[in-house]
Amino acid sequence: MKPPAFEYEAPSTVEDAARLLADGGDDAKLLAGGQSLIPLLNLRFAAPSLLIDLNGVLELAHINEAAGELRIGALVRHSAVAGHALVAERHPLLAEALGYVAHPQIRNRGTIGGTTAHSDPAAEVPVVLLMSDARVIAHSTRGQREIAVDDLFVSIFTTSLEPDEIITEVIIPDRHVEPGTITGSSFQEFARRHGDYAIGGGAAIVELDAEGICRNARVGLLGAGMRPEESKAAAAVLENSTLAEDTVREAARVATAEINPLGNVHGDVQYRREVIREMTFRAVMTAANKAKAGTA
């Protein structure tokens, strides 16, 4: 009613969906949870000729483990990912990050495939996927391929998917952990209200050995530019240190020295950079404290 008119198809298999997408051409759009797409349609910012509704494609709604990897079907809702025991055990950062995604109603509809394909630099899940070396399966009538998320996220709302490709699975490898170390992780974000897209945020995974030395670190940045970002330079500052406050501040500074967040009414570039720096600092400190306390 509010969106412009479109054709609607509701396939029940990936194959049918892929065929519809291939036949539909550039104007066809996949509909998953609809929590990003429907607002765009309602505001008439997008006017696809055909919507292919994935919600009936039940083969996309699984969470499996296999060969040291977690395979999450594209249609799994945010709330299901966040509440899954294997996610809590192996990727607590993902569960924590999902707690910042919007509100329960939206988390009950929004999907991991949708947020990955949407490629919004302000979205939490893509940052965690990047820090976790995740991959996606892209499926089309031409076959299927794996894409590392680092290659998938091109720019804001832009991925390296071909127009006829569907993300069917998100694959997250288990973290390789050195024996005798303890890992801590934390997601810290800053928004004006509960559930809003963040003004900025930072995420950290740190691995401490028995001496309290950081053996491995990953630092992610939310809302830092045109795509989800990870700072290898910040990780390098942290690695082989004891994560003293000064070191962590320096790492946060390094992480944000070159970023160019998008400004809007809730904060301009300079302020967002400050916020992301502070959130990154807090994320690393919190992750380190969790590791020290042995609470993951």
Binding site: P4, L43, R192, R193, V265, H266, D268, Y271, E274, E278
Partner: protein
């Protein structure tokens, strides 16, 4: 917490409904939506309207071709301003605040120029709403841009670009209240000449959007030359008169119905262009039409609120005694004058002195046209602006004098013994006790412990600092005295009407002219009538909002419903009892003087037990087989009430605020308020009104701002950018009451609809400043976004210079300069 006895327990006599925390009887249907929301209405053959709205803020329409839209499927008609220019008249402005106020007129649909983004340019009428919306896209229109006027301080300068070519300046009016000239105070210039200390500030009241929950919606039904307009309006009665005058439909041929209405906050206190256009289109086509706005349309085109630049000076002695107050406002009218656009700041004029004994006071206000949607009433209308300015500057004066801010207030406020007190603005405050409310609020907050914690955090250099903000406020409400409103050139009176119909089965219909839009009138009025007539609460039904049922009324705004409308109900009930008494005397074969009326029953004094219930009398007079000679066979009654004074709620609001100096994020740690709203009819309704008011007042301080970019586009056009807080963003409210009955109505009620919204904003801002003043911060522009707070702490100023990208938000507040001098340039 309530500081009075539980009002339901009385020494003797039946339990009282007034004071009882009844759950609201209207809530089930309102909350589930299974009710008569206007948009739920479907009439046979009903057509749908959709608008093409201007994407530019100021332009002439150089080309407008609707022919392609007419050819779209299911389109019945497409109209432009040319089609209605001779019959649309102008949206009425009922408050010409000065005799020479300039009103360039307000067409409902643009004829050849557009003056704000969102102004209606064409109307598509189609068989479905979708068809109408789709066809709008087929309209071909070109605009020739004119200079856009957005900044009031620029707009009032000589040679400024004009919003309206027909006017000689952008100033609509210059309104002055001078206590010296009015005889209510001494000479203000002298007070400032002789002052030992003066403090001057420039405060900005940002633009706000009323953001009612139910979007505006209108349906027009046609029966021959009779029209019925259903509308999500606060003011069916006023809309009927104004709608008739504007469209030329005779008043007796126009019925207006406000069915259940989902909130308004002043935003539906309007004669909307779309309502007028729905009537014109229905008349032109002779067919029923409906229009319901989208949320984007609502944010962009329904009237906004606040938007003032306030220059305020206070004069005082070194010991803190205030000696003079001077206020000069620039008030943004937007592009046109709507129903009470110019009156909102004028209503505030009388509240700047607050609760303080200023001997001298002068107020001046310029109403300024800009290329933005018009402003008009928004919860508090004029009084929040005034309260903010006075409560903020009292803190600034305290800083200047190095005095405790509460001590400074105490030194200057009206003491309990001084009531009734005539203020320097000429108002007579009827009752209250500021000290008592303040003491209670301090205890509720845990003031001393929080001050100790503040000290600790300050000494340890904690990155999270704590502050406490004070607002000791009063307000004028219960809009009312018709003669006073007349003296202020308001276009209507302030009386209210009620009637009571006693049905044969003893059930009671109460007809009120005070139309609710979510407040709980049905419950409160039922409680009042249950007590007055001694009938069960459940036996009372309250009818409202339909001019064919409730023919007289002045509707709901200005916290007037209970104070004026509730009193009219009391007066009508008294008449019912008086009429029933004659019949009871007749049937009981007793003299009227020997009858007493209690618990719904007439009985002969000294012989309790035997008697006649008023519900039985209702049946007896319906049958009318046996009733006294010389009276009419009815105990129904009608009454109108017009109080002689406003009512003056007051209270003390305290906010404890944590400020994260590293991110600028502010968190309300604790909020305590003690309000005196006179007699409480229903504590739950009062609590609800306070909570909602607090949420909106806090939202002005922290979240909400309607921002236009440099071209006059509304940047905050969705709820993603126009931020309303939810319960998750707000603290627990610790509320309490003191009770000093109002003296201007028999209920003793003072009005609670706006108090929370009026009082809270300065308490919140004062709290944030109190937390970071030692870091050199002297002001922070509202709303206190984290970015602004952070900038104020780390970069100086008030954080507002880069208010938002491309914003019209008046640069930074220049708090170090004298406001008055600034304004005089």
């Amino acid at each position: 917490m309530t500081l009075t006895e539980d009002p339901t327990t009385t020494a003797d006599g039946p339990a009282k409904e007034v004071g009882n925390a009844r759950l609201r009887k209207e809530d089930a249907r309102l909350i589930t939506g299974k009710t008569t929301w206007t948009d739920n209405m479907v009439l046979p053959g009903m057509l749908h309207m959709a608008f093409l709205r201007s994407p530019v803020a100021h332009a002439t329409i150089s080309h407008l071709d609707v022919s392609a839209a007419k050819d779209r499927p299911n389109v019945v008609a497409v109209y432009t301003g040319q089609d209605f220019k001779d019959e649309q008249g102008t949206i009425p402005c009922a408050w010409p605040v000065t005799p020479d106020m300039v009103n360039p007129g307000h067409p409902s649909i643009a004829v050849d120029t557009v003056n704000h983004v969102g102004e209606a340019v064409a109307i598509v009428v189609a068989r479905t709403r979708t068809a109408a919306v789709d066809a709008v896209e087929a309209i071909d229109v070109d605009y020739e841009n004119l200079p856009v006027v957005l900044d009031m301080e620029e707009a009032v300068k000589d040679g400024a670009d004009l919003v309206h070519a027909s006017t000689s300046s952008n100033t609509s009016y210059h309104f002055v209240f001078d206590a010296g000239e009015a005889g209510t105070g001494s000479d203000t210039d002298a007070a400032f000449r002789d002052a030992e200390v003066t403090v001057s500030r420039r405060f900005v009241q940002q633009r706000l959007i009323p953001a009612f929950m139910e979007p505006r919606s209108a349906v027009v039904g046609v029966q021959g030359d009779n029209y019925t307009l259903w509308s999500a309006t606060q003011i069916p009665h006023i809309l009927r008169v104004m709608g008739a005058l504007t469209t030329g439909i005779p008043e007796h041929k126009l019925r207006v119905v406000a069915p259940d209405v989902g909130g308004g906050f002043g935003g539906k206190l309007q004669v909307c262009p779309e309502e007028i256009l729905a009537l014109l289109v229905a008349r032109r086509l002779g067919k029923p039409v409906k229009w319901t706005e989208t949320r984007s349309e609502s944010l962009m085109t329904a009237h906004h609120g606040r938007d003032q630049i306030q220059y305020i000076d206070v004069a005082a002695k070194k010991d803190g005694t205030v000696t003079g107050l001077r206020v000069r406002l620039l008030a943004d009218m937007g592009a046109y004058l709507r129903l009470i656009t110019p009156g909102v700041p004028a209503l505030g004029a009388f509240m700047f002195p607050g609760i303080y004994k200023f001997p001298a006071y002068r107020f001046e206000c310029d109403g300024v046209f800009t290329n933005k949607v018009p402003t008009d009433a928004y919860r508090g209308a004029g009084r929040p602006e005034a309260t903010f300015a006075i409560e903020r500057i009292m803190d600034e004066l305290a800083v200047e004098l190095d005095m405790d801010p509460m001590e400074l207030r105490r030194k200057n406020w009206i003491s309990a013994e001084e009531f009734p007190f005539t203020t320097v603005a000429g108002l007579e405050y009827d009752s209250g006790d500021y000290e008592q409310a303040t003491q209670a609020a301090l205890e509720l907050l845990g003031y001393d412990e929080l001050r100790a914690e503040q000290k600790r955090r300050r000494e340890s250099g904690d990155p999270v600092q704590l502050g406490i903000g004070i607002s000791t406020f009063t307000e004028m409400c219960g809009l009312a005295p018709s003669r006073v409103l007349g003296s202020l050139s308001f276009g209507a009176g302030g009386w209210e009407q009620a009637s009571i119909r006693m049905l044969p089965t003893g059930k009671v219909e109460v007809v009120t002219g005070s139309t609710p839009h979510g407040q709980g009138h049905e419950t409160a009025w039922s409680q009042i009538v249950a007590d007055e007539l001694g009938v069960p609460f459940e036996d009372v039904e309250v009818l409202h909002g339909d001019t064919a049922i409730s023919s007289r009324g002045l509707d709901t705004y200005g916290s007037r419903s209970l104070v004026v409308g509730g009193t009219a109900v009391v007066k009508a009930a008294e008449k019912v009892v008086a009429k029933a008494r004659k019949i009871a005397a007749h049937l009981l074969e007793a003299s009227e003087d020997d009858l007493e009326f209690s618990g719904g029953k007439f009985s002969v004094k000294g012989t309790p037990g035997a008697g006649l219930g008023i519900q039985e009398i209702a049946l007896a007079i319906f049958a009318a087989h046996d009733y006294p000679e010389g009276i009419e066979p009815s105990i129904d009654a009608e009454a109108a009430f017009d109080p002689v004074n406003f009512s003056f709620p007051h209270g003390t609001h305290l906010c404890a605020m944590e400020v994260d100096t590293e991110t600028g994020f502010v968190t309300i740690r604790k909020y305590a308020s003690v309000d005196d709203i006179g007699t409480i009819v229903n504590p739950i309704i009062v609590e609800g009104q306070m909570h909602g008011g607090l949420a909106q007042g806090i939202a002005q301080a922290l979240y909400e701002e309607a921002i236009y970019d440099a071209d006059g586009n509304l940047t905050t056009g969705t709820f993603v950018d126009y931020l309303l807080p939810s319960a998750a963003d707000l603290p627990t409210f610790h509320t309490g009451n003191t009770v000093h009955a109002a003296t201007s109505n028999p209920l003793g009620a003072k009005g609670v609809g706006e108090a929370g919204c009026i009082a809270s904003t300065p308490a919140v801002v004062n709290a944030a400043l109190d937390a970071v003043r030692h870091l050199g911060v002297t002001d922070i522009r509202m709303p206190l976004t984290p970015e602004r707070v952070w900038r104020a702490i780390h970069q100086g100023g008030d954080g507002g210079d880069r208010a938002a990208e491309g914003s019209n938000a008046y640069g930074g507040a220049r708090t170090t300069e004298s406001g008055i001098e600034e304004a005089a340039q």
